[in-house]
């Protein structure tokens, strides 16, 4: 009935300096139930004190009912940490995990968004979904089993999606007696798979391997004395210190800004802004382009190109960057702002504003890798919708040129794609789009394939270079 105060935690969380600048870090977990993923997630939440007393009480009661931890177990040893991530009733009844679940915790260095992706069912669909917004993905391996086919599949998907940081957690290290030789062998296998994929050696991604025991907490939040041969950081320390994808990309001179809508009040100004002293005359002809910077940064005075499908790029100058009454001199991804331009072009939703001269010619021929997420298979000749940035266009699937064997990383011949397949296809668009290679542009290189009949999302698309363009070997067909 009263709110209990853990003052030590409050002081840690609210220590002014770290909190003011604490950044947001998104990561996903991939692995099966057997690898101890739920226990690891529960351990992270528990040890970072994201689990509140009432949730812990409920879990402790259930753990006791099920006899977890055995007689005499006390404290955290008596709690089945996996229950902390127990999902919907429909899932408990069927003993499965339906969907990606999002969880939140914070330390004094960072706020975390965790996309907890189920491993067994539809792992490609769930991993692709979780990884698409992740700065890092933690892949679990059972130390007793080592690198399995599923591990290769997970790493293959993560490489394709260009996840900036891949962390392989070798779990259950307690069950192999904290053996360094077992860990080193698995580590070497992981690095070998990484080399085959180009993961961790391509200058874009990195690959780390950490020995952990989710059940006992070794190297999860704090470094363990039971693995003296491991001198690297604990998992949480890794997550606290890795740069977020936006931090890695914001230095690039590749400003991209898909226009969401035009803000043009024409006299219909917000009453609260007017009451607050807004100069009504000065804003009578206000016109600005609202959107979220997907990449890079922009300054007032920068030369930019406005890209409109079917038209040549038009070059102009940024005269203002507005955000809710504040005039900014500079903005970076992923800020949502409104941009004013020097010339009165006709700019609309679906257009892209980009750093002048940095975008290649728009194209109606789309070569892409497709992660097929629907039970309805892809057939050549199908008519679909493509959503890219803020524009949706009709498209025709001209050909499917193969599908990826995720375990061997080889491309096999295929003329259709089924649920959880990843393949390559060529599409013809009804209007040209400013397509960019996903390898270098994680936002403007991504698109959705949508079913025009029921509106469902069919696939996640990653733009490849056109054949004949400078090709990257990992994306060649």
């Amino acid at each position: 009935m009263s709110t209990e105060i853990d003052t030590a935690r409050a002081a840690a969380l609210l220590d002014e300096a770290p909190l003011a600048h604490a950044s947001l870090f998104r990561f996903a977990t991939a692995g099966s139930v057997d690898d101890g993923k739920s226990t690891l997630v529960g351990r992270l939440l528990h040890d970072s004190k994201a689990i509140l007393a009432d949730q812990l009480d409920a879990v402790a009661r259930t753990s006791a009912d099920r006899g977890f931890g055995g007689p005499g177990a006390a404290g955290v040893q008596a709690i089945d940490l996996a229950l902390l991530t127990d999902g919907l009733r429909a899932e408990r009844e069927q003993g499965i995990t339906i969907d990606v679940a999002y969880r939140y915790f914070a330390t004094d260095r960072r706020s975390f968004i965790l996309a907890d992706c189920p491993g067994h069912v539809q792992y490609t669909k769930n991993t692709v979904t979780g990884a698409s917004t992740a700065d890092a993905v933690v892949v679990l391996i059972d130390a007793r089993k080592g690198v399995l086919e599923q591990t290769r599949r997970h790493l293959s998907v993560l490489q394709l999606l260009r996840v900036a940081h891949v962390i392989v957690a070798v779990n259950k290290i307690d069950l192999v007696d904290f053996s360094e030789s077992v860990f080193r062998e698995i580590e070497a296998d992981v690095q070998q798979v990484g080399r085959e994929l180009g993961l961790g050696s391509d200058g874009i991604t990195d690959l780390l391997v950490v020995p952990v025991s989710a059940l006992d907490g070794d190297n999860v939040v704090e470094r363990s004395e039971r693995t003296p041969w491991y001198t690297g950081p604990a998992l949480l320390e890794v997550l606290e210190t890795l740069p977020a994808a936006d931090e890695l990309e914001s230095h690039l001179e590749s400003f991209r800004f898909p226009v969401q809508l035009v803000i043009r009040p024409q006299g219909a100004l917000a009453p609260d802004a007017v009451a607050g002293g807004l100069d009504v005359e000065a804003y009578r002809d206000y016109r600005a382009y609202a959107g979220q910077i997907t990449e890079g940064s922009v300054k007032v005075g920068d030369k930019v190109s406005v890209l409109t499908p079917g038209q040549d790029p038009r070059t102009t100058t940024v005269t203002g960057i507005d955000f809710a009454g504040a005039s900014l001199t500079e903005a970076v991804a992923p800020q949502s702002v409104a941009i004013r331009l020097a010339d009165e072009f006709d700019v609309a939703r679906g257009d892209t504003i980009a750093a002048a001269g940095t975008v290649r010619e728009a194209s109606a021929d789309l070569y892409a890798a497709l992660c097929w997420l629907s039970p309805k298979p892809l057939r050549e000749g199908a008519k679909v919708l493509v959503k890219h940035g803020t524009r949706t266009v009709q498209a025709l699937v001209r050909s499917v040129s193969g599908k990826l064997d995720l375990a061997t990383f080889k491309l096999e011949g295929a003329s259709s794609l089924e649920l959880n397949d990843i393949g390559h296809a060529q599409l013809r668009l009804a209007a040209p789009l400013p397509l960019e290679n996903y390898l270098h542009h994680r936002r403007t290189g991504a698109f959705l394939v949508i079913d025009p009949l029921d509106g469902n999302t069919l696939a996640a698309g990653l733009v490849n270079d056109h054949p004949g363009d400078h090709e990257d070997e990992r994306y060649s067909i």
Partner: protein
């Protein structure tokens, strides 16, 4: 306390600081992007506005998204008839200040007309679904913004930011569209509508820190005040027209505040001396009870209470 909480923060270079957004900046930007996408892609959106803190934050984000223009959609309130009077007053003042249109769906009217029956426990929160769907259909709203957050409970933890609802407003957790990158698929057929949750990724602490940072006004009952209360179901209930103590329940005056401001008949207060937004931020950061667990009787009915209500078309 774990040692990592007391370690020195990572030293970052000046160059990195200038391009690094705080977590609140990032969450604000994400929410504004979603609000603008929905406005651009839907014919007739509306925002659920109860005067509760999450809906007040949503409305604040909408004013920032379209500045200097007006918020381009109406607000919708499902009035249980058991609301705190000061919250209704706050709602009306806010709507007036921003020049918005207010649409009200009334639980009382549905009870009076016999289309809904009062529950034995007197709780009206679960009754909101019918008037909500009626208001959505009558006004032809095709997208409804809500202030739901994924940290609130395990059903919400799995719901999409754009959540498709069928003709009956039902949520089908097994048949959700994958949500990839920052590309939101809002396509829907006639009769379907979409619930949009732009602050899905915020925690209760984020909401309070944002209220502090943006100096957002809230109904006064979020802050500590003296109130006549009685104990029931492990919560402090306010004495009011629809919330009367039974003979065995002693009425006392306590310094309390509310963490959520729902229906008076099922929303409890917590003992608290947090009289300012700063006090509340500290209290929330230190709290060891989740907000729903502490103060909502309707979620305690069963562990799967929220999941059941969402499937039936609840927020």
């Amino acid at each position: 306390m774990s040692t990592y909480l007391t370690e020195e923060p990572t030293q970052v270079t000046d160059a990195a600081v200038s391009t690094r957004l705080s977590s609140l900046d990032t969450l604000e930007s994400e929410a504004i992007h979603i609000i603008r996408e929905v406005v651009a892609e839907f014919e007739k959106p509306a925002l659920l506005f109860s005067g509760g803190k999450d809906s007040v934050v949503m409305l604040h984000l909408a004013t920032k998204a379209f500045w200097p223009g007006k918020v381009p959609f109406p607000v919708l309130h499902v009035d249980t008839g058991h609301n705190f009077p000061e919250v209704i007053d706050f709602r009306d003042r806010t709507v007036e200040r921003l020049g918005l249109k207010l649409v009200v769906g009334s639980v009382q009217e549905f009870i009076d007309s016999g289309e809904l029956a009062e529950r034995a426990d007197g709780t009206r929160n679960p009754l909101q679904t019918v008037p909500l769907l009626d208001a959505i259909q009558r006004n032809k709203f095709d997208a409804v913004f809500g202030g739901g957050r994924r940290d609130e409970d395990k059903a919400r933890a799995k719901e999409r930011i754009l959540s498709l609802r069928d003709e009956f407003g039902q949520w089908d957790p097994r048949n959700q569209r994958p949500e990839l990158w920052n590309l939101y698929n809002g396509r829907h057929t006639v009769g379907q509508h979409v619930r949009a949750f732009p602050i899905s990724n915020w925690t209760e602490l984020d909401v309070w820190r944002y209220i502090e940072r943006e100096n957002i006004e809230l109904p006064g009952l979020y802050y500590a005040h003296d109130r006549e209360v009685f104990a029931r179901d492990g919560m402090w209930r306010a004495v009011g027209e629809v919330s009367q103590p039974r003979p065995d329940e002693e009425v006392i005056t306590k310094t309390v505040r509310y963490r959520t401001v729902g229906d008076m008949s099922c929303t409890g207060a917590v003992e608290s001396a947090a009289a300012t937004v700063r006090d509340v931020v500290i209290e929330v950061a230190a709290s060891t009870i989740t907000e729903r667990g502490a103060t909502r009787a309707d979620d305690r009915i069963s562990e799967a209470a929220m999941e059941d209500r969402k499937k039936d078309g609840y927020f």
